[in-house]
């Protein structure tokens, strides 16, 4: 956080001032950045407290999968389309947390259909169909 504050102060130096005024767009970010640096120093001086107990290997893996899922959504958005992405990602994550395959597949299919109906058909959000070009909007 201190680094973010310092970067804000340094970058704000290049912001142009308002002609005829003592203060410009740099003032607020500079004050905030300096404050952030000060807070970071104060936090660093504190006792860090007890460390969080490490998660199990399976827990770490599912947490990592949850973090990776939005990246997969972004990368596969146009190629796979929303319904296949929702079905695939949903099934994979559900099975990772120990759900039985049949229940995982059925739940993910339900989520894919439900989200398509709500977002694409009712709310008119332009979700990509991917290979399933026959799906109604």
């Amino acid at each position: 956080m201190g680094i973010v504050g310092l970067a804000a102060v340094l970058l704000a130096r290049d912001f142009p001032p308002i002609p005829g005024q003592a203060y410009g767009p740099a003032l607020f970010p500079t004050v905030l950045g300096a404050g952030l640096v000060l807070c970071a120093v104060l936090v660093a001086l504190q006792d860090p407290g007890p460390a969080t107990p490490p998660a199990s290997a399976r827990g770490r893996m599912t947490a990592l999968a949850a973090t990776a899922a939005p990246v997969v959504v972004i990368l596969g958005w146009d190629l796979l389309g929303w319904p296949l992405l929702a079905f695939g990602l949903g099934s994979a994550m559900l099975m990772l947390v120990g759900t039985r395959p049949l229940i995982a597949l059925a739940t993910s299919a339900g989520v894919a259909v439900l989200t398509w109906v709500i977002f694409a058909m009712v709310l008119r959000v332009p979700l990509p169909r991917g290979p399933l070009s026959f799906l109604p909007y």
């Binding site: 956080m1 973010v4 504050g5 804000a8 970058l11 704000a12 912001f15 142009p16 308002i18 005024q21 003592a22 203060y23 410009g24 767009p25 003032l27 607020f28 970010p29 905030l32 950045g33 404050g35 952030l36 807070c39 970071a40 104060l42 936090v43 504190q46 407290g49 969080t52 998660a55 827990g59 770490r60 599912t62 947490a63 999968a65 949850a66 973090t67 899922a69 939005p70 990246v71 959504v73 972004i74 958005w77 929303w82 929702a86 990602l89 949903g90 994550m93 559900l94 947390v97 120990g98 759900t99 739940t107 993910s108 989520v111 989200t115 977002f119 709310l123 959000v125 332009p126 979700l127």
Partner: protein, 502 residues
């Protein structure tokens, strides 16, 4: 009067009523699931709210949060797991009584006093907000600047446990709010030549990230086990409720007002209100032993306070555009997106919208009784679904919500970035609430600061020229000094017994 009639017509629209019903059910479900908070429910609602008219959008947030805060009591009583942090204060007390066969009575009290607390808070909101707004119209940028400073300071210094960490979160949020075109010169700040950032960081995607993603990651990482065996619930939950209302009317009034006040403090929120009312209940109890063992007084106090705080949080949000809690911070963001600017002028320009919001509060709290009764009956099967199974669908909903705001994948990227940042912050004891508060209020604070600075042309003493501004500045200073004085007193108290007698 005309505005009130227009408001009634607005709320009577089938779309608004259906929205309230659907959001209430959603809120009850989210509240029932331990680990999912009312704030998360609001964050996940926002993408839907984007497609609704302003009244329906706010109605959905009001209804969902009121229901979620009550529903948090259900797993708290039946499983000793608070459904939302607002129930944490009295969860052991509720569960102990439930184990002795009084689950029905406790759930009935939770339901009735939650609804009554919400109604009391709404009465205070309706009475206080227009009066304050009338006064607020006479305030200048100096007062608004100091008021914002006071609000932000309360969120960090009075409510938080760790001042440097809370302040760091707040400053980070304020800094994130500066991303995009500067309002006075339109100069792009911290955009790194990315056109997607010219209008700032997408707020809805950011808050979905801050509130939903860390919770999902944590639940998947540490699935946990249920800490207690569900107790059998009684079905006659309303038995003896009339007598209970009469008996505990003063407790209810006191705690409802305490909850409303705590809710109105920026950064307060339902959980702080419940802890404050529960602690006060114990201190003021005539029979502390009975209070601990078989009394229901503490539950009545805390459950009234947490729902009352929800309405209280809307007072500064509507009058000064200063959110009382994270939920109203999100709601303010939604109002801005819907071109309704909160602040004193809303009472002149959009009075009908405002009255409609007030009516929504009453409807949501009254609707809580029948829907809450159904939720209590349906809760046991829902509580049997493993929590981590719900995380995959929630993550997919979060991705869709982040995309749907601007129909852009940038929203999903923002959600992930803010989610990871929020997760890192919470793992290191840095609260995300002040960061979101900062993101919402950043523009307001900077606008009032810059307007005031341009007015005074470098003479900073003029920030203290007007009496109200001076008083607000003095209060702000007091809030800053208070933790220092408190820690100094503690330090001196620790040293005193060590001093050898003369």
């Amino acid at each position: 009067m005309d505005a009130l009639l227009r408001a009634i017509v607005l709320v009577a629209e089938p779309q608004v009523l259906l929205t309230i019903l659907a959001s209430s059910i959603f809120g009850l479900m989210v509240g029932c699931i331990p680990g999912l908070t009312a704030t998360m429910a609001t964050a996940l609602l926002v993408p839907f709210a984007m497609f609704l008219d302003p009244v329906s959008a706010i109605a959905s947030i009001v209804a969902a949060t009121a229901m979620a805060i009550f529903a948090g009591d259900i797993p708290g009583t039946l499983l000793r797991l608070p459904g939302t942090p607002a129930s944490a204060a009295y969860v052991h007390h509720s569960y102990r009584l439930a184990m002795s066969g009084r689950a029905g009575e406790v759930l009935g009290l939770n339901l009735v006093f939650s609804a009554l607390g919400g109604l009391l808070g709404t009465v205070v909101l309706v009475a206080a907000a227009p009066t304050l707004a009338d006064y607020a119209l006479s305030l200048s940028s100096f007062e608004f600047f100091w008021l914002s400073m006071l609000g932000l300071s309360c969120a960090v210094f009075l409510v938080g446990d760790n001042v440097p960490k809370g302040a760091a979160a707040l400053l980070l949020g304020l800094l994130l709010a500066t991303v995009g075109r500067d309002y006075s010169t339109a100069f792009p700040r911290f955009t790194f030549d990315d056109p997607e950032l010219l209008d700032g960081i997408p707020f809805v995607s950011a808050l979905i990230g801050f509130f939903a993603v860390p919770e999902i990651i944590r639940t998947l990482r540490d699935p946990g086990v249920l800490g207690a065996v569900p107790v059998v619930q009684a079905s006659r939950i309303f038995q003896g409720m009339g007598r209970a209302i009469l008996r505990w009317r003063w407790n209810f009034l006191r705690s409802g007002l305490v909850g409303t006040f705590v809710g109105a403090l920026p950064g307060g929120g339902a959980d702080t209100a419940a802890w404050a009312a529960y602690g006060m209940s114990r201190r003021l109890s005539r029979d502390p032993e009975a209070w601990d063992k078989e009394g229901i007084e503490g539950i009545v106090d805390a459950t009234s306070a947490n729902n009352a705080s929800l309405s209280g949080a809307w007072i500064p949000a509507l009058v000064f555009a200063i959110p009382g809690d994270t939920i109203t911070a999100i709601a303010i963001g939604v109002l801005y997106l819907k071109n309704v600017t909160p602040g004193p002028s809303i009472f002149l320009e959009n009075a009908h919208v405002l009255y409609a919001v007030f009516i929504t509060f009453f409807i949501a709290n009254l609707l809580m009784i029948p829907l809450g009764w159904l939720a209590i009956r349906a809760a046991v099967p829902l509580l049997k679904v493993p929590r981590q199974m719900l995380m995959a669908p929630l993550l997919l909903f979060a991705c869709l919500g982040a995309f749907a705001v601007d129909n852009s994948l940038f929203g999903i990227g923002t959600m992930l970035a803010c989610g990871l940042l929020g997760y890192w912050m919470e793992e290191n004891g840095i609260p995300v609430g002040p960061a979101v508060l900062g993101m919402v209020m950043g523009r307001l604070v900077e606008e009032n600061l810059m307007t005031s600075l341009i007015k005074v042309q470098g003479d900073l003493t003029r920030f203290f020229d007007r009496p109200v501004a001076t008083a607000l500045a003095a209060f702000t200073l007091l809030v800053w000094v208070w933790p220092l004085a408190r820690s100094l007193r503690r330090h001196l108290a620790r040293r005193a017994p060590a001093t050898p007698p003369a």
